[in-house]
Amino acid sequence: MSDPNEALVNAKAVAERITKTRRLNACLTPPKELRASLVQQAAMAHPSGVLYGMPVGVKDNICTLEFTTTCGSRILEGYRSPYEATAVARLKTAGALIAGKSNCDEFAMGSSTEHSAYGRAVHPLDKARVPGGSSGGSAALVAAGVVPAALGSETGGSVRQPASFCGIVGIKPTYGRVSRYGLVAFGSSLDQIGVFGRSVHDAARVLSVISGRDARDTTCEDRDPLRLPTVPESLQGFVIGVPREYFPTDLDPGVRRACDQAIRMMRDLGAAIREVSLPHTAYAVPTYYIIAPAEASSNLARYDGARYGPRFNGSTDVRALYRETRGQGFGAEVRRRILVGTYVLSSGYYDAYYRKAQQMRSLIAQDFRNVFDRGVDLLFTPTTPTPAFKAGEKITDPVAMYLSDIFTVTANLAGLPALSLPIGRIKGLPVGGQLIGQAFLEDEMLEAAYALERVVPAAGEV
C-alpha cells in the first residue's frame, strides 16, 4: 500500500518542475491553476491504483474536466469540456494525477508544434529546435524530466516522431486498442491516443491502464486492457524484418549508423534479421495527405462559434459568424488542410482523390500483412529521416513538413502498433528507432523494445 502522501509530494514537485521549465512552452496550463488542481487531485487519488501518484501530462486535444481543452487553437480558447475522455477517466481511476495540458500543433495538424496558436514548444536540449509534433509539448515534458509519462495522440506519427526527436519512448497502439472517446477528432480512421515515457516500462504501464473496450467508442475493439509482458532474456525466436524502402540510399548517415547499431544489437540478442520489402511505401505520405485532411475537413466542421468556444465578429448573420470564426479562429495549416480535405471530397474529385487513397491504403496494409504472414514478427526502421530540425526551417513549405512523416504514417494507415525508442545521438541530438508490430500483438513489440532498450546506448553518439 503506497504512502498516501506520495501523491501530494508528487503534485507539489511536478508543479515546481513545470514552473521551472516554462521556457519550453510545453505546458499550456497556467502554473497557479495547475498547482491548485494537482493538490486537489492528490487528495482524491486512489491509493491502491496502479499509477497512484504518478503525474501524467495530457495533450491538449484530449478532453479533461480539469483545465481547458484548446487543441492548440484559438477557436477553442478558454473552452472547458463538460466531460472527460475515457483514457483520462481511467488514468484517474488508477490514481494518476493529470499534470496539465500539453502544447501541440493546432488540432494535431503538424510535425513540429510550431503550428500551435499558443506559441511553439521548445526542444529541451536545443532551444532553437522543435521537439517534433504534433504532440511536442507532451514529449518535451517527459524528455525534460518534468513528468514520467504523458499522453499524446497519433494520426500520422505525432507521438513517435516527437519521441524520436526528444530521445524518449513513444508508443502508438493498434487502432482500436484505446478508446477515442474524448480525443478531439482529426483523422478518425487514423487517430489513436499514444503514450510517451522515459522508459518502455513507464509508457507501457500507462498504455495498459488506458486501453481496453469502451462502450462509448464503436471503433474501439471489444478486448481486455493490454497485458504487459515480462522483459525477455533474449530475442531468440524473434524474426525482425528490415524493410528496404525505409533505408533509402540518401538516408541521413547518422540515422543509418544508429539503426545499423540497433540492428546489430538485436542480432546479438538472438533475433533473426531479414530484409523485406513494403513496395507501396512511397505512396504512403500522399495517401495520408488525402485521407487525413478529408476526414479533418468534416471533423472540424463543428467549430463555428455557435454552441461553444469564442466568436469572432460576424454578428450580421449566422453564415458570417461561421466564416469569420473559422477564418480567424483556425491557423494557416488547419485552414489549408480543411480546404484540401474539402476539395478531395467534393463532387468531381472524390473518385480521383479520396477513393483512390482508400484503395492505396488497402495496398499499404496488404504489404504489411504479406510480410507478417511470411514469418516476420516485427519490423525495425528509423523513426524519422533526421534528428530534430530547427524552428522555422520547414514551416514555409507544407510539403517539406509532410515529408518528415515518411516513416511513421504507414503504421497509422495500416492501423498497426508502433513504438519509437532512443537509439543514439547525432551531434548531441537524439534519434529514434521504430518497431512496427502486428495488429493487437503489442506484447511482442514491447518484449523486443524492452530487450533492445536494455542494451542500446540511447545517449551515445553514433
Partner: protein, 103 residues
Amino acid sequence: MSVSREEVLKIAQLAELHVEEDRLPELAEQMSRILDYVAQLAGQTSETAKPFIPGPDALRFRVDEVKPSPLAFGPDTFAPEFRDGLFLVPKLGQFGDDTGESE
C-alpha cells in the same frame, strides 16, 4: 493540377471559411502544390482494390434505453449565447429562412 482562385473561393464557401482576398493567390498556389503531390496516386491502384479502414469489421450496437452520457455542466455554462434554454446565433438571414419552424 492547378487550383484557380475561383476554385479556392468555392471550396472556402463550402467549408464556411473566410479567406482574405489577398491570401487567395498564395493559398491557391499552396493547394496546387499539395494536390499535385498527392495526385501521384493516379494510375497506381486497380479499380477492384477494396478500401481499407482499420477497426472492427461490424458495428456493435447499443441497447435502446435512456442512459445519457454525463455532462458535468449544461449548455447554459458553455454556450456563447443562451436564453430561455435555447442556443442563440445571429439570424439565418441571407441564405434561406427556410425550414425553420415559425411559432
